[in-house]
């Protein structure tokens, strides 16, 4: 059986920035079979739908989920306490394809930053570009440095790091990398895909869509992609969340 639902012990669930929480779950012995960019589908007591949260880290026997409180479900998640058990369906989806011998730029915007941490841990000397609206939302900077990344930071208003957008930083630095991986708001991903196209660099992007089953059965999390010249509907949960940017019809 390919899919696995586990009841994991909650180690900690701390607020790390304005509306952003860091949930650590004890997975058990051995390496967690999660690829970077995959997601976990978290059961929220009392809600009809699980909440899909990208895996921030999976090293050291801990499954780490960094998430933003956006609605009722994530609010309930933020109130979960240490020692509670959390019902998690993971790993799901297809993550980033990281090859040896290539230098990657890993770009995260806002709550798109967390999946880039485990991705950075899987890359050799990655260039990590993180962007946030303002200083109060900045997360995971120390973690990226510890993971051995070259780290750049920008905020929309200049309250932390450079003032500007991640698209400016990737444009300045794209000559130093072979390939780009990105996660964040759709307009950001669209702009990054455009820069990559301009410079002829491959680009993988992680998408988000309202989701139900998480495994490709219910077909709600649709995304339009172009395959062999034809536009078709694929699904973020099963075909993604990571897609080749060239194939996504924005």
């Amino acid at each position: 059986m390919k899919y696995d639902i586990r009841k994991l012990r909650l180690i900690s669930n701390e607020k790390i920035a304005d509306g952003i929480y860091d949930m650590r779950l004890e997975y058990g012995d051995g390496e967690i079979p999660v690829a970077c960019g995959q997601f976990a589908h978290v059961y929220v007591p009392g809600k009809s739908l699980r909440r899909p949260i990208s895996v921030c880290d999976a090293r050291g026997g801990e499954l780490r989920l960094v998430y933003q409180v956006k609605g009722e479900g994530t609010k309930i998640m933020s109130q979960m306490k240490a020692e509670e058990t959390v019902d998690v369906l993971a790993p799901l989806g297809n993550g980033f394809n990281i090859e040896k011998g290539r230098r990657y730029a890993l770009i995260g915007g806002g709550i798109g930053v967390p999946p880039m941490l485990y991705t950075a841990a899987k890359c050799e000397n990655p260039l990590v570009i993180t962007g946030f609206r303002n200083e109060s939302l900045v997360i995971l900077q120390d973690d990226f440095v510890k993971a051995g990344a070259e780290l750049l930071l920008c905020t929309d208003d200049g309250t932390a790091g450079k003032k500007g957008f991640v698209t400016d930083l990737i444009r300045e630095n794209i000559g130093r990398v072979d390939e780009v991986c990105a996660c964040g708001p759709t307009p950001m991903l669209k702009a990054i895909a455009q820069v990559c196209r301009e410079f002829g660099k491959p680009c993988q992007i992680s998408l988000e869509e309202r989701m139900a089953c998480g495994i490709g059965a219910c077909l709600v999390c649709a995304v339009k992609v172009r395959k062999n010249g034809e536009e078709i509907m694929q699904h973020v949960c099963k075909n993604g969340p990571v897609f080749n940017a060239e194939e996504v019809v924005f």
Partner: protein, 303 residues
């Protein structure tokens, strides 16, 4: 261990728990959780004559104790289903129900003919999908149109025919009677109730289709009421569905008048729900010295 097997229109089910159309795809994904033979049956994702890409996203919104969806019948088309999915499904040791939807009565008939030549166990006529512009629920909301489409498809269908009823009607019992009168072997009910959710900040509906079909625990009492009303009006069996979440819900739906059950929305939070519900129903039967689940059907004692 009580006998959980049921018969609907001559087709035997190992247990009364059937995966509901639209929530279970063609079974392959949930087959990665447990053997599909643990289910009584699978009602496949609604199929159409030609491939459909469905509605633009977002296609789902969560609501109190339920969800709204408007997938819009995304599916690869009946020919692909017959060629690629049906042979695999038939090896899984469970009853296979093909759910069909058309833009016209003729399309329904063509699909029924194609499927009649396969080893599909049953055909479920989807005349209750609220999320497509043409077809779907337009056939399901008057006695005349339900009677007409049932009659036409019946003439082209060699398989047991289930008519899936819409709750978005004034008098569901008379619609069920119209289906029965024109040759339906069973009815399944209820499809989703049309609903809407608006983001108060953007003032846009969450769902791109603006409206969607409400399912989940929120609709359960409506489904029970309608199954009860219909069971008083027709003799053919009812496959009850609409928000069944626990084994207690399943027992209640059977008592209201259902012979078998479909399980949908709860799968999204708990993929194992049908198996847990079957176990719970079994224990209830044992605890009450009831030897067969069929003994529950329609045993409500109304005031």
């Amino acid at each position: 261990m009580a006998d959980l097997s049921v018969k609907v229109a001559g087709v035997s089910f190992n247990n009364p728990l059937i995966a509901a159309s639209g929530t279970f795809g063609f079974g392959r994904e949930y087959g990665e959780f447990y053997p599909l033979s643990k289910l009584g049956g699978i009602s496949c994702k609604g199929i159409t004559l030609k491939r459909r890409d469905g509605n633009p996203p977002p296609r789902i919104a969560e609501t109190p104790s339920g969800i709204l969806n408007a997938v819009g019948l995304q599916n690869p088309g009946v020919d692909v289903f017959i060629q690629d999915d049906l042979p695999w499904l038939k090896q899984q040791g469970t009853v296979v129900i093909a759910n069909i939807a058309g833009n016209t009565v003729e399309e329904y008939c063509m699909m029924a003919e194609k499927l009649s030549e396969t080893d599909t166990d049953m055909i479920e006529l989807n005349i209750s999908c609220p999320n497509v512009k043409s077809g779907g629920v337009q056939f399901g909301t008057s006695c005349e149109s339900v009677g007409n489409i049932t009659k036409e498809v019946r003439a082209h269908c060699k398989k047991p025919l289930i008519v899936k009823l819409s709750p978005n009607v004034t008098d569901i019992a008379s619609i069920a009677q119209a289906a029965e009168a024109e040759g339906a072997d069973a009815v399944s009910m209820i499809n989703t109730l049309t609903g809407m959710k608006i983001d108060i900040n953007t003032r846009r509906p969450i769902i791109h289709n603006n409206t969607g079909g409400l399912s989940g625990a929120a609709v359960f009492p409506v489904a029970v009421r309608m199954v009860w009303q219909v069971s008083n009006a027709i003799k053919i069996p009812i496959i009850g569905m609409g928000g069944i979440t626990t084994w207690e819900d399943a027992v209640e739906m059977l008592i209201a008048g259902a012979t078998a059950l479909q399980i949908g929305t709860v799968l999204f939070s708990d993929p194992y729900a049908p198996i847990k519900i079957a176990e719970g129903v079994n224990k209830f039967l044992d605890d009450n010295n009831i030897s067969s689940v069929t003994e529950l059907t329609g045993t409500v004692r109304p005031w």
